[in-house]
Structures are given as C-alpha cells and as structure tokens.
C-alpha cells in the first residue's frame, strides 16, 4: 500500500516535470538562437559537489545552445573569490548575470551592486530581492516531505540529530525550518540540542566523526532514530558511521540526490532512509531559458520551481 502510494507520487511528480519542461522549451522554440550576440556571466560559489556541478553545467550548456557568449566563473568555494568575480563581471558589463548559491549575508550587498549597475540578475537557489528571477526547487515542499517521511519511519517519536552548518544559505534554512515546523505537530519527536555543524570541505569525514561521537553518546536505548541535513553529502558520512557502529535503529535523511547517497538509499541493507532528489541540471537549464525569455522582452516570474522527487526504500528507480 505504502509502496504504491510512493510510486504514484513519484509518477505524478515525474509527469509534472515533463509537462513543465515541455512548456518551457516551447516558449523559446520560436527563435532558434534567442541569445545570439548576447553575453551572459555565470558566477557560482563552487562546483565541487554533484548538485553544484550539474546546475552549473545546465546553465552553461543551455546558454551556449541558445547562442550566448558565456563568461563562466567558479569561485572554488571561496567567498572572497566570488566577490571579486562578481566585481569583475560587473566591469565587463554582460547583458545578464546568473548567480548560483553562496552565503546570502556575503552576497546580498554585491547582488545589489549588480542591480544598481543596470545588469539583469538571475539566481539559481538564491532567494534575493535583487534578482529578477530565482530558479530553484520548491524547498518548502522538500523540507516538509522529508520531515513527513521521517515522522512515518520513526512512528512519530524519538530523537533526531540535525546537521545545521549552513543557516546562511537560504535553501538550507528553508528546508530545515520546514522540518522543524512539521515536527511541531509531533511532540514526541525531539531534535537533539546542540545541532551539529556540517562543513565544507571534508564534509564526509567530519560528518562521519561527528556522527560516531553522537552514537557513542546516544546508545541503542536512547531513542535516537534519525539524522537529517539540508543536503546529502554529510549524510554519506553519517550513514557510514551508523553502519560501522553496527546500529540498525538510526536512519539518515538528506536532499539533493548525489549519486552515492541515492545508491545508499536504494540499498535495502543501508541505513540511508530517504533523499529528495532535485533536477539540478534542469534547474540550470531553466535559469538560462529565463534569461533568454527576459532578454527577448518576455515576462519572467519572480521564481521558477523545478519539481523534485522523494526517493525512499520503496521507490522504484
């Protein structure tokens, strides 16, 4: 019964995705190279994770396919570098800039400068008032769906370890806030205080060692049942730690759809519980298409959401 329900949900989401993609492709099909003669700058905080790289490639590939000259800059996970890159991009005066992820506290004053320089700004996974459009997943739904799956797996009671190192990254904040909101309705679920900090770099190793410490502190009779983070790379380390400790009472939950973690979720013997898989490449493509629509005089909504799919042990992939 449960399996069918999930299967249906996956199928509905997949159909919606197909329709959305078909519609967006159609909207720009009128002109073969709508961005011919245009220069578009792309600045991303990093491409060292699967999601980042796919979304970045989606933008660059699609912009080129639409005829644009692309100035693509990867900041190598360094805020200073990204700021310098944004400043340099402004100096080059491209026809539009797409910015992907990063720390909002650092970025916002600089995104404002892009707007002040009169360059249309588009973002990927970064909600900011300075952008014309933000292309992203529905992170509110992602958080809620993941939390509901956890509630179900935990029988609505038990302790949760939360990795929360990236509260300054808007999508992370939204997802984990939603998880907390869902838990409010289930008073027997408790998030362990203090929350843990996931880090970049050394994400997997650090999560492994932090999780090992938590498992020592919270033994099999402690009621610890779940581990969650706003993405899935730390969950790879956490799952490995749980399995190394021989524990079968604790499951992990993440977001993004990194291939290694999806494999773990699909493995019936793994302690990886569920992951919300995002369409990173499609998100990047969609952002590029929004630029094309806007630069050709079309109307672009303030956000475009590309559907994501929850994958659990019962999903058929």
């Amino acid at each position: 019964m449960q399996s069918n329900k999930n299967k249906n949900r996956t199928m509905i989401t997949a159909s919606l995705l197909t329709i959305a993609m078909a519609a967006s492709s159609y909207s720009i099909a009128a002109d073969d190279l709508p961005l011919a003669g245009k220069t578009v700058g792309v600045t991303v905080i990093g491409t060292d994770h699967d999601w980042d790289l796919k979304a970045y490639q989606g933008q660059v590939d699609e912009l080129k396919a639409l005829g644009a000259e692309v100035i693509a800059l990867d900041a190598g996970r360094n805020d200073q570098t990204q700021i310098s890159q944004i400043q340099t991009l402004i100096a080059q005066r491209p026809d539009a800039i797409i910015e992907q992820l990063g720390n909002l506290k650092v970025l916002n004053p600089w995104l404002k400068r892009i707007k002040q320089a009169g360059i249309p700004l588009f973002t990927v996974d970064t909600a900011t008032p300075h952008a014309i459009n933000n292309t992203t997943s529905n992170n509110y739904n992602i958080g809620a769906e993941l939390a509901l799956q956890m509630v179900q797996d935990m029988d609505a009671k038990g302790k949760v370890v939360m990795f929360n190192g990236f509260a300054s990254v808007p999508v992370c904040k939204i997802r984990l806030d939603q998880v907390r909101y869902v838990f409010e309705s289930y008073p027997d679920i408790e998030i362990i205080d203090p929350e843990l900090r996931d880090v970049i770099p050394n994400t997997v190793q650090q999560a492994y060692s932090d999780m090992t410490d938590m498992l020592t502190k919270y033994g099999p009779d402690s009621g610890l049942k779940s581990v969650v983070a706003c993405w899935d790379v730390p969950m790879i380390g956490a799952t490995q730690a749980i399995e190394a400790a021989g524990r079968t009472d604790v499951k992990t939950y993440g977001v993004d759809g990194s291939p290694e973690y999806v494999e773990m979720v699909k493995d019936p013997d793994s302690q990886a519980g569920a992951v919300v898989v995002q369409q990173a490449y499609e998100i990047g493509k969609q952002a590029a298409q929004n630029v094309a629509t806007y630069l050709n005089g079309g109307k672009v909504p303030s956000f475009t959401m590309v559907p994501a799919v929850l994958v659990n042990k019962n999903s058929e992939l």
């Binding site: 692309v70 100035i71 693509a72 800059l73 990867d74 900041a75 190598g76 996970r77 360094n78 805020d79 200073q80 570098t81 700021i83 310098s84 890159q85 400043q87 340099t88 991009l89 100096a91 080059q92 005066r93 720390n103 506290k105 650092v106 916002n108 004053p109 190192g165 990236f166 509260a167 300054s168 900090r197 880090v199």
Partner: protein, 329 residues
C-alpha cells in the same frame, strides 16, 4: 695583486649584470602579461577594472606588508630566515572576533581594538616561539597557524557571521575622488609603510638586523626585540586586514587561511622587483598588484580560479629558485 683586483671587478660586474637581468626579466614578465591581458581580456584596461584590481588587492597588500616586515627583520633565507605562515589564519581569527563582537551588539570602538589585540597576541606568540623558545620559524609559525585556525573555528562554529557597522559600510561602499575606500586604504597604507620602513631609524635598524644580525648586535642594536617587533607587526597587519575582510564580505567567513599562498607569493616576488633582491614595500606593492591583475585577468578570460592557485605556487617556486641562485652566484 692587480690581476686579483681585476678578477674581483669582473665578478662583481657579472654579479650585477646577472641580478639586473633577473630584475629586468621580472619587469618584462609583468609588462608582457599586462599587455597580453590588455589585448585579450575584454574590459581589462577600463578605469573601472583597474580600480577593481587595486581594490581587490588591498587585503592581500596589508597581509603581504606584514610578512614583508618579517622578511626584512629576519632575512630572506628560506631555511635560516624568518617567515610568518600564521598571518592569513591570524587574519581569519581576528575577523571572527571582530564580527562576533559586532553581532553581539558591541560597537566598533570595542570590536576594532579587540580584533587588533587578537592579531597582536598571535604575533606575540610567534615572537615568543621564534625568539625566546628558538623554534625554527617555519615550524613554529606553522603550529601557530593551526592554533589560530582552530580558534577561529571555535569562535565562529565554522559558520558565516554577518557584520554591519557605519565604518564597514564606508569601507565597503564609500568613494572619494572616484576611488573606492578600500583602494584608498591600500594607497595610504603603502605610503605609511614606505615612510616607516624606508625612511625612519626603526626601519633602517630592522634592515640591519635582517641583513646581518651579528653586525647589528655589535653596534648595540637589540636584535631580538626587532625580531619580536616584526612578528608583532605581522600580527597587527593581520588585525588591520581582518577589518577590511569583514568590510568586503559583510561577514566573517571560513576560508581566510587560503590567502596564505598569494600573500607568500607577493612577499617573495616583491624582492625580485627590488635592486638588491631584498624585500621592500614598493616591491611588495608591485607584486601584490601583479598577483591581483593576474587573478583579475584570469577571471576576465574565464579561466578557472583553480589555475590561479597553481600559478601562484609556480611563482613562489620560480622566485625562490631565481633569488637563491642569484645570491649564491
């Protein structure tokens, strides 16, 4: 006797010629790369972009001045001389202290002295390890680098700490005569440094300690104090740079320690631009602008920022090899 004199003249001429060739080579490489960027990179020569390069080089400049003073006071010999590997991590720690204090509601009047004091404490620790405990500078400052990096993580919990104050706003977005506040900081900072290091008795004594410590001691200079002083200054430079870092990023963020490579590259490369291959403020400033222009040109050409690190590493290798080769000959 005559013959010997002639021979020594020949040697000294050859020596000078070789040095001059290396120095001119460095200038030629600098100019060549600038011309290459001017021709190939869109927007490189616009006044807006040139001001960007200066602004982007300010933080690097402050840190490179700190390490240059350590080089001046302790000699540039890579093995026997001094070095401050902790300077970038120290700046990260100072930025963390500064941002946390601002976030907790303390104003600039407390947060700035606290950031500078933090930098000075780390500088003192370096001086203590190198001068008092006589630990090799490469190792002692490496250890202090880890202490500073660890403390930064402890203070920030490895998170981004947002910071705002009127001073930070002015530094980040202020302009005077069309030049941004950060660029002014570099211009004024460099002028002050030149005055202190090259035209004051303290600066000249520092050069004598770094040039030949025994000779300096024999004329009554307390060499240890100057070495201590150079590490303290390096700590001060980290503290001052931290305020500029927080201004530029509107926050303290993890990753400031990564500045060590470009800072070292700038300070070492600076010596090549000077006549006698000694570290000078002017040389360091030129090297800082060179590295800034290199990063900027790479960005304009759309070359991955990862290559910039590679080029900086290669620069360090080439500069150290060339200067030690020139000194030996």
């Amino acid at each position: 006797m005559k013959l010997q004199l002639f021979k020594s003249d020949m040697n000294s001429n050859g020596y000078t010629l070789q040095k001059m060739a290396i120095r001119l080579g460095a200038f030629a490489a600098f100019l060549g790369i600038m011309v290459f960027f001017a021709v190939t990179a869109r927007g490189f020569t616009t006044s807006y972009n040139i001001l960007n390069i200066i602004e982007q080089s300010t933080i690097l400049g402050f840190l490179a001045f700190g390490i240059t003073v350590v080089f001046i006071g302790t000699g540039t010999d890579v093995q026997k001389g001094g070095i401050d590997l902790s300077i970038a991590a120290n700046a990260g720690l100072c930025a963390a202290v500064y941002a946390v204090l601002l976030e907790r509601g303390y104003g600039d009047s407390l947060a700035i002295p606290a950031a500078i004091a933090t930098g000075l404490c780390v500088g003192f620790l370096n001086g203590f390890a190198v001068v008092t405990l006589r630990i090799m500078p490469l190792l002692s400052t490496l250890a202090v680098m880890n202490i500073a990096a660890g403390l930064e993580l402890a203070v920030t919990q490895n998170t981004v700490i947002g910071a705002a104050s009127p001073l930070l706003d002015t530094l980040a977005f202020g302009k005077f005569l069309g030049i941004s506040a950060l660029a002014w900081c570099l211009i004024i900072g460099a002028a002050l440094m030149v005055a202190i290091v090259h035209y004051s008795p303290v600066g000249l004594r520092l050069y004598s300690v770094g040039g030949n410590v025994e000779a300096a001691k024999s004329v009554g200079i307390y060499a240890g104090r100057y070495v201590y002083g150079s590490y303290l200054f390096s700590g001060f430079a980290a503290g001052a740079a931290s305020i500029l870092i927080v201004a530029r990023l509107s926050a303290s963020t993890p990753g400031t320690g990564l500045l060590l490579l470009p800072v070292l590259a700038a300070a070492l490369l600076g010596a090549v631009f000077s006549r006698r291959f000694v570290p000078t403020i002017g040389g360091t400033l030129l090297a800082v602008l060179f590295i800034g222009a290199l990063s900027n040109g790479f960005q304009l050409l759309g070359i991955s920022s990862y290559w910039v690190s590679g080029v900086q590493g290669a620069l360090i290798l080439v500069v150290v090899a060339v200067t030690s080769f020139a000194k030996k000959s």
